[in-house]
Symmetry: C2
Subunit: 133 residues, 2 copies
DNA sequence: CTTGACCTTCCAGTTACTGGAAGCCTTATC
DNA sequence: GATAAGGCTTCCAGTAACTGGAAGGTCAAG
């Protein structure tokens, strides 16, 4: 199977698959006589695993760890859970941060009349105006 | 005033201030005889403006636009509002995305017993197991 | 005179790709 | 047989916004 089909089936751009190979996330592919990469089902499965993990926001390094845990029959589910839990906490922290940005911004946006005049509470805030807050 | 004090007062690392200069976000600083950058209150104010905008999640490019609007007495507050509103929508989109990740992850984490045994719903999910979902 | 705190420039690294150039392989079509 | 389209190859550069570190100049204190 050539890279195009793998890409389609794993929902990843071919470029990204080559990048993962370069990054050592997957083994260098077999090569056909013409030099083209030649894949089997196994690689499609691995790449789908990675695609799914990436779509859950795990970093490429975390994917590397997840893959090695996946392949390790002696793994403890506790290790997987710890990784996922840390990642979950990261996400929750980001949500909290973004919610606080949203609160400030939506307030500023609401207070800006948004017409042809130059007065603007948003710029006033950025400039450090203390009045009216 | 040297860069260290400006950094402290604008709550930005000195390296970042040099970077903003390099990036054209602020004018190249005056130089003292010894070659050190020499700043006045004006630059502190500008850098605070940038710091505040960055802390609200505006990109450096957006900061550039905000600064030029700030300096433009003929600006329309509508332009500022539009920029902030777009940014707000970006943030809301990100929150939505992260909340959906959080939902999936917290479910997976909850379902993983997290002990010494290898069975793991998290890895099963990544591997594309369809059962139990 | 040396130590330490600042300051300078320049280069490299970070994350995870993505775009593009230049060129080979294969297949279909004229 | 020539050629055009589409897929494949490698390699290089760029993205965002810094950050770390090396090598070295400046200045005040002890």
């Amino acid at each position: 199977m050539r890279i195009g089909e793998v890409a389609r089936r794993a929902q990843l751009p071919a470029k990204t698959i080559r990048y993962y190979e370069e990054a050592g996330l997957i083994q260098p592919a077999e090569r056909a006589e013409n030099g083209y990469r030649d894949y089997s089902e196994r690689e499609v499965h691995t790449l789908r695993f990675i695609q799914r993990a990436r779509s859950l926001g795990f970093s490429v390094e975390e994917c590397r760890t997840l893959l090695s845990l996946y392949r390790d029959r002696e793994r403890s589910s506790a290790d997987v859970k710890a990784l996922a839990h840390d990642h979950l906490r990261d996400i929750e922290r980001k949500i909290t941060e973004l919610e606080s940005l949203r609160a400030v911004l939506s307030d500023l946006v609401a207070r800006c009349h948004g017409d042809h005049r130059p007065d603007c509470p948003i710029l006033d805030d950025l400039a450090g105006a203390e009045e009216g807050r």
